[in-house]
Amino acid sequence: MNIVVCVKQVPDTWSERTLRESDSTLDRDAADAVINELDEFAIEEGLRLAEAHSGEVTILSMGPQRATESIRKALSMGADRAVHLVDDALAGSDVLATSAALAAVLSQIGFDLVILGSESTDARTGVIPAMLSERLGVPQLSFASKVQIDGNSITINRLADYGYDTVEATLPAVISVVEKINEPRYPSFKGIMAAKKKPVQTMSVADIGLDASQVGLANAASEVLSFAKRPPRQAGTIVTDEGDGGSKAAEFLAARKFI
């Protein structure tokens, strides 16, 4: 089984994230770069499914040169190979262009299963899995908290507010996974050494049959007009409990008409 896991390099949640003054895109230099947290669950799920169904895992990442760090990490976890879609023309792409570019790569390299994290911690749009499903014309099995494959058929638990739905489809398919679907492994020393020798194919916009006029910031269907640091909230009232903390909290709630 040919499994492709899409991996996005994002700024670390724990470092200060900001946009660039010049073009309102993510300032990638300002923050430490890491694999999107939810993508680690996607990689782990891909590895487990590959182990159980004698498959192979390809990492697909679209991003600047620096994304190779994240690609190497994914390979050191155990993925077999990687495709790095890297092209200056892609900078600032919106979700339409990003999904078009990823879909173009996927069509070219082929897949039985595409796995993604359910959203990225930077843009947090959560729409790419659905958009890939739409573009590729294959079933959308998103927000999976459990995945089972039996021959050609795939079943997931799709997490919802009320619990979950059991969803069935036939491969090939696109799935997105939620946190806690598994416990992502740490790269072993052996894995880290092996990753250095694994093949990473780079592809450009031209390689995937797209034109620079279809992607990138200038061609995005949406744009950032302005941004500003969110002003800090007005300092509130902080009291130390001296046996009446609960009562004081109740008074506050009453004053604000919550009770």
Binding site: L96, S133, Q140, G163, S226, P232, V239, A249
Partner: protein, 317 residues
């Protein structure tokens, strides 16, 4: 006046509050035309009319509940073709965003997600990076597809006809690939849904155990609130994952958010920073969550919370 398509979220009977919020918002830009899939439109019609819906497109077929997302996107694309709306509004829920994403691919129109405000030119306000930055953005190609965060505005009454217009569109086979075979309802308590609730009470690491989450539930119930949890709590298995508030969980924006035993790491703040009023109980006066607090109590939650519950119940008396 151009139509604004609003995809309804509902439980087959009652319309969800967020849809009434969207209808309220839509009135500023055109005639709100609600798109209702599956059963229940008749029972919700009065509520929609009260909030100013001009029209309710009803596609009552069972396919919309039997297959994941794709049939709804197909329906919206078809209606959009027929009515040339000025915008399509969706709830920024898991499903709303996915429908919007598919619609964007079908139409080539731009999409904005997690929008917390719209000005008169339909420029959208978003809050990104864990609440650190406010962004104003707009769709510049095609009809704007906008997913709005629940609780962004309050639903307001205004008369509307909410005239039901049945839609007969055949769902294509292509949209019927991911079939829902079973719906498993795990928790059906009386509490409001997390993202819809006006009040949310969340517990964090300081709560200490799964059993102690009962204290959080008790406070929530005294306020008619939903229960949330920090990642520490869901990671430890003290409370189910779907109640996690934060960057990799739910984003909430209630009138009142009560954080109990939560330190307020960026991961958590990302999910609750736009709450209107924030109350904090934490024993550590240095906890960063106090920076967000309108009212904070530094103290032992096992003493403060029971007293608070008692006071609330006394007042409700």
């Amino acid at each position: 006046m151009a139509e604004i398509l609003v995809l309804a979220e509902h439980d087959g009977e009652a319309v969800k509050k967020v849809t009434l919020e969207l209808v309220t918002l839509a009135r500023r830009f055109g005639a709100p035309a609600v798109v209702w899939t599956g059963p229940g439109a008749e029972s919700a019609q009065a509520r929609l009319a009260e909030h100013g819906a001009a029209k309710v497109y009803v596609a009552a077929g069972p396919e919309y509940d039997e297959y994941v997302v794709a049939p709804k996107a197909e329906l919206l694309a078809e209606l959009a073709k027929q009515s040339s709306p000025a915008a399509v509004l969706l709830a920024n829920t898991a499903e709303g965003r996915e429908v919007g994403g598919r619609l964007a691919v079908k139409t080539g129109w731009g999409i904005l997600t997690d929008v917390v405000g719209l000005d008169d030119d339909m420029n959208a306000e978003q809050v990104i990076f864990g609440g650190a930055i406010n962004v104003t953005s707009r769709v510049r190609s095609g009809t704007p597809i906008i997913a709005v965060r629940p609780n962004t505005i309050s639903p307001e009454a205004a008369p509307g006809e909410a005239a039901i217009e049945p839609v007969s569109i055949t769902v294509s086979d292509a949209a019927k690939q991911a079939r829902i075979t079973e719906r498993v309802v795990q928790q059906r308590d009386a509490r409001p849904e997390l993202t819809e609730a006006s009040i949310v009470v969340s517990g964090g690491r300081g709560v200490g155990s799964a059993d102690n989450m009962a204290l959080i539930e008790k406070l929530a119930d005294s306020l008619g609130a939903a229960v949330g949890a920090s990642r520490a709590v869901t990671d430890a298995g003290w409370y189910p994952h779907q109640f996690q508030v934060g960057q990799t969980g739910k984003t909430v924006s209630p009138q009142l958010y009560v954080a109990v035993g939560i330190s307020g790491a960026i991961q958590h703040r990302a999910g609750m920073q736009t709450s209107k009023t924030i109350m904090v109980v934490n024993k550590d006066p240095e906890a960063p969550i106090f920076e967000l607090a309108d009212f904070g109590v530094v103290g032992d939650l096992f003493k403060v919370v029971p007293q608070l519950v008692e006071e609330i119940e006394k007042r409700a008396g």
